[in-house]
């Protein structure tokens, strides 16, 4: 029995391509055709068949030469927050409609096959760019200027945000893997809502060069795929120092994250933060988490109760700091040099105002206003500085917790994916959904979401795993062992 190409994992596709059972061009054509039939999901923004096929042929040439890199010819799609030379980059914003970058983001370059005259990386072929919340601001992928993305498990529901396009495309088998970015949970939460696997590494492990900046001190790139093994393969290619381009890049050599995947979990101490299992958590999500934890105990892990006492403060701290950085990062979108400029204006001041009022969506404007306010003279100490201090305390809570356990586990979000438009004009409802993902983001710790079962109406639930700094390997090990013991990650949405 041969499985259709779109049901193969990254690891399986890589093996088939290496064996020359199938060519990179065939694989690319298969996924391109498939995405045509799923356009109503709204996952893809920019596609360019010629560019994709050119990359596929380059990968085939590498495969034919016999010294192809690890993932040569395997397709991938990138969240539209990464700039690319072969495809337009919008960051989900009207502000960057039709924007073309003269360079590839470091992550894109490291995963890619390399344009002519450019050094390539892992040899992957780009299928296109994936929808996301405008400038990665949102928890539901409802803030894109290019329309909402639908959840493949229930197209009346959101896929989660801001990497919603990435999560939906992987879940719907429109690509075997995708990149995402996580600022406050934007890899983990959509992975959870769409039933796939996603990991946000330690802050600084993957270069931010070429990621359209939202909140510089929090933004982190990571892979989204169906299995932990695939995430390990992708993460190995994405990470590594980029000191010439990104000053916040960690000077830690890239490692092969696939090596420790099958490690024994006997004696592993899993910490459960009391604060993650309180009143706000839906019962069906809790039940799925408990089932996953029971599996991990079966595998030899022990469970200990821990406390992250400042969890409650993560939401206000995050929405002060992220907004402050965003207000500054987004000031370059002023209509002067690139991107959108309002068509009619009277003078410079008017051009700025109209360009930014018309070019940015509501949520982006809301955060710019908040950020500008918290940095303003007279408010800086009360908001920005105070938030920085609490941020440090939140990181200390984790260090305290890691004296009692090796890995922290809990839910990714309080509920399964909600209905499209359900939060309407209530941005706070979206903000509250980030309660379990924000603490690790603020602390700069690695975190991931692993399929852990299903909740109400058959919607997927993800188990969140949080590790200490640079402990991505340990998270992937736990996730992989869980996936060897369960089949939640292999379930498909209806009709896929």
């Amino acid at each position: 029995m041969t499985q259709p190409l779109h049901d193969l994992t990254v690891a399986e596709l890589a093996t088939r391509l290496k064996a020359r059972d199938v060519s990179a061009e065939e694989v690319a054509r298969h996924f391109l055709a498939r995405s045509q039939t799923a356009a109503d999901l709204g996952a893809y923004l920019a596609m360019d068949e010629e560019a994709t096929l050119a990359q596929a042929r380059a990968a085939d040439a590498l495969l034919a030469a016999g010294n192809a890199p690890a993932l040569a010819g395997v397709p991938i799609a990138h969240k539209d927050i990464f700039v690319t030379r072969d495809f337009a980059t919008t960051a989900g914003s009207k502000m960057l409609a039709d924007y073309r970058s003269p360079f590839d983001a470091t992550v894109v370059r490291r995963l890619g096959v390399g344009a002519p005259g450019q050094t390539g990386g892992a040899g992957m072929v780009t299928l296109g760019k994936l929808n996301c919340d405008e400038f990665a601001m949102g928890s539901a992928n409802e803030n894109s200027a290019y329309g909402v993305v639908k959840n493949p498990w229930d197209t009346a529901r959101v896929p989660g945000g801001s990497s919603g396009g990435s999560a939906a495309a992987v879940a719907a088998r429109l690509t075997p893997a995708a990149t995402g970015t996580d600022t406050g949970g934007s890899i983990r939460q959509p992975a959870s809502f769409c039933g796939i696997t996603g990991i946000k590494p330690t802050y600084g492990r993957a270069s931010r060069y070429g990621m359209v900046a939202f909140a510089s001190s929090l933004d982190q790139a990571g892979p989204m795929a169906r299995t932990a093994e695939d995430c390990a393969l992708l993460l190995s290619a994405m990470c590594g120092p980029d000191l010439d381009r990104d000053s916040t890049s960690l000077d830690v050599p890239a490692e092969d994250f696939t090596r420790g995947l099958s490690g024994d979990l006997t004696g592993l101490r899993i910490g459960l933060p009391t604060e993650f299992f309180g009143d706000g958590l839906d019962a069906d999500v809790r039940a799925a988490i408990d089932a996953a934890l029971a599996e991990l105990r079966q595998l030899g892990a022990t469970v200990v109760d821990i406390s992250l006492p400042r969890t409650r403060l993560a939401i206000p701290v995050y929405y002060v700091l992220a907004a402050a950085e965003a207000s500054s990062n987004l000031s370059r979108f002023d209509g002067v040099k690139f991107g959108f400029r309002a068509p009619d204006y009277t003078d410079l001041e008017d051009m700025y105002k109209k360009t930014r009022s018309q070019g940015f969506g509501d949520e982006v404007q809301r955060r710019i206003m908040t950020g500008t306010y918290v940095l303003s003279h007279g408010y800086y100490d009360a908001y920005y500085l105070q938030a920085q201090k609490v941020r440090r305390l939140i990181a200390q809570d984790f260090q305290q917790a890691f004296t009692q356990c090796d890995v922290i586990a809990g839910p990714v979000a309080p509920s399964v994916a909600w209905g499209l438009g359900a939060h309407g004009d209530d941005p706070l409802a979206d903000y509250l959904a980030d309660i379990y993902t924000l603490p690790a983001s603020l602390a700069g710790l690695p975190g991931m979401s692993v399929p852990a079962g299903f909740g109400a109406a058959g919607m997927p639930v993800g188990l969140q795993l949080i590790g200490n700094y640079l402990q991505e390997g340990r998270l992937l090990n736990v996730a992989h062992r869980l996936q060897q013991a369960t089949d939640w990650h292999q379930r498909k949405p209806n009709g896929i």
């Binding site: 700039v83 900046a213 000053s247 916040t248 402050a324 000031s331 500008t372 303003s376």
Partner: protein, 489 residues
């Protein structure tokens, strides 16, 4: 400290902010070139244009420049300093913020000492911080539109801020000149004021002695020492007049117009911006190790003040000479070589400050060009001829001019004598011949002899003049003096 000079009963208080453009090959946060004068937007890369996804990476060379300045001015070099964003909108500011240092600058404290006339003055520094320059707007030749040239965007600047320690435009200009000397001396800035490599903002206020500080107005972008003096003097007079007329001074930023010689307000405090400074999350704190500081210290040249003090101590030069000779490292080195080679430091000093500088300035040569005209060893040879009595001082000037035009290196060293003879400059050292002339002059000028004997010194000088004239300037004046005195005794 000098006591403050009062103007119309007012004390003047001046502080300075100086933007020095650092002599690095590439920009402070990118690899684009910093060369001046290129076609617009040809020296701005994706980072300078603030294209989405770009990030700043600190240029080590710029930090090295800051360390050098700190070492030169006796400042504290912060082992850890922080970059901040200064947020504002302007078309020539690509990111919408300028990366600067705010709360914790890299260079803290220090001082600049210099002479105003023969009064020593010390100005304390508050700080010097690293930052990036913005681009510039272009309005000419664009048919009513405005263009943006981002070649300058990201050029490394070190902004040097003083305490309000200056009490007059003379002190202010002397400070600026001394600072200019230091930054060019240690090679961190080319000092080109026209191209904007060294530009000053002067904060000026006036007050009655004993009163609290007056409200200051900031004169922006002073790019010549002459305009600096004019602008500050105008501003002082204007502020005093306002106060005398019963008006309060409003804090303001003003520009100096060289055409009218007046300052006029750009903006007042009312519309001053809220820059919303915060630490730049794209740049980790700048950490400078003690080892880096020490490595840099080993590379530092002797500083002008130290060199001047040494010239006073080692060569017995007056302070004025020492200060003048340490105008540049090349000048100081030139003097020192001439002094050593001739064994006549004071004469060497006179010649370097005098004839050498005069010709260099008249021909608008740089010191490097001038020292090729006449090497320090050449000057030493000329000085030796004077000391040995071979030529007179005025004869030496003729010889100097001859060498300057042709170069002594083209004349064999032992041939200096024949050059002196060819030019007819050799002093008359033949006592017999000189005695004869002296006798003739005494005989021919009985009136002067009588007057001298009556006690008039002037008459003696007239006689010396006559002897010199009769010898066609070749007599050794000291010898003439001696002989005349002996004869008339």
């Amino acid at each position: 400290m000098t006591s403050p000079k009062l103007i119309q009963g007012y004390e003047v208080v001046i502080g300075f902010e100086t933007h020095t453009q650092l002599q690095t090959n590439s920009k402070i946060f990118s690899r684009a070139s910093t060369a001046f004068g290129a076609e617009p937007n040809t020296q701005a890369c994706a980072v300078d244009l603030a294209l989405p996804g770009t990030l700043p990476v600190m240029n080590r060379e710029a930090v090295q420049c800051a360390i050098k300045l700190g070492l030169a001015l006796g400042s504290h070099i912060a082992p850890r300093s922080v970059f901040a964003r200064k947020n504002y909108f302007y078309p020539d500011l690509p990111k919408g913020y300028q990366i600067s240092q705010f709360e914790i600058p890299v260079v803290q404290g220090g001082e600049v000492s210099f002479f105003v006339g023969d009064q020593k003055k010390t100005v304390r520094l508050v700080r010097a911080h690293l930052e990036e320059d913005a681009g510039k707007s272009v309005h000419e030749g664009l048919h009513g539109h405005s263009g943006i040239d981002l070649n300058r965007a990201g050029t490394p600047l070190l902004e040097i801020v003083t305490e309000p320690d200056m009490g007059s435009s003379d002190e202010a200009v002397a400070y600026a000149k001394e600072l200019h000397k230091i930054v060019t001396w240690i090679g961190i800035c080319d000092g080109n004021m026209q191209e904007g490599s060294f530009r000053c903002d002067a904060n000026v206020s006036v007050r009655k002695p004993g009163q609290p500080l007056g409200t200051r107005r900031e004169i922006k972008n002073l790019n010549s020492f002459r305009f600096m003096q004019q602008a500050i003097d105008f501003e002082i007079r204007w502020q005093i007049e306002q106060i005398e007329d019963g008006h309060a001074i409003q804090q303001a930023t003003v520009l100096f117009d060289p055409d009218t010689g007046e300052t006029r307000a750009m903006r007042t405090k009312e519309d001053s911006a809220d820059y919303r400074y915060f630490p730049d999350p794209d740049l980790p704190p700048l950490c400078i190790s003690e080892q880096w500081v020490e490595q840099t210290r080993a590379l530092m040249p002797e500083l002008p003040r130290k060199m001047a003090e040494r010239f006073v101590a080692d060569y017995g030069l007056p302070e004025y000479d020492a200060t003048t000779l340490t105008h540049s490292p090349a000048m100081g080195a030139y003097f020192e070589a001439a002094a050593k080679a001739s064994g006549q430091p004071k004469l060497a000093s006179n010649w370097v400050m005098g004839e050498f500088s005069r010709r260099m300035n008249a021909e608008e040569l740089s010191i490097d060009q001038a020292v090729k005209k006449i090497r320090s060893s050449d000057l030493a040879v000329i000085i030796k001829q004077i000391v040995d009595g071979q030529i007179s001082s005025s004869g030496a000037k003729t010889l100097f001019a001859h060498v300057w035009e042709r170069g002594l290196q083209f004349i064999a060293p032992e041939g200096i004598g024949s050059v002196i003879d060819d030019l007819g400059l050799r002093q008359m050292n033949d006592t017999g011949a000189l005695e004869k002339i002296v006798d003739e002059v005494i005989a021919a000028n009985p009136d002067n002899v009588a007057q001298f004997k009556a006690g008039k010194d002037k008459a003696f000088n007239a006689l010396v003049g006559q002897v010199m004239k009769a010898s066609k300037g070749k007599a050794n004046p000291a010898q003439v003096n001696e002989l005349l005195k002996a004869r008339l005794a």
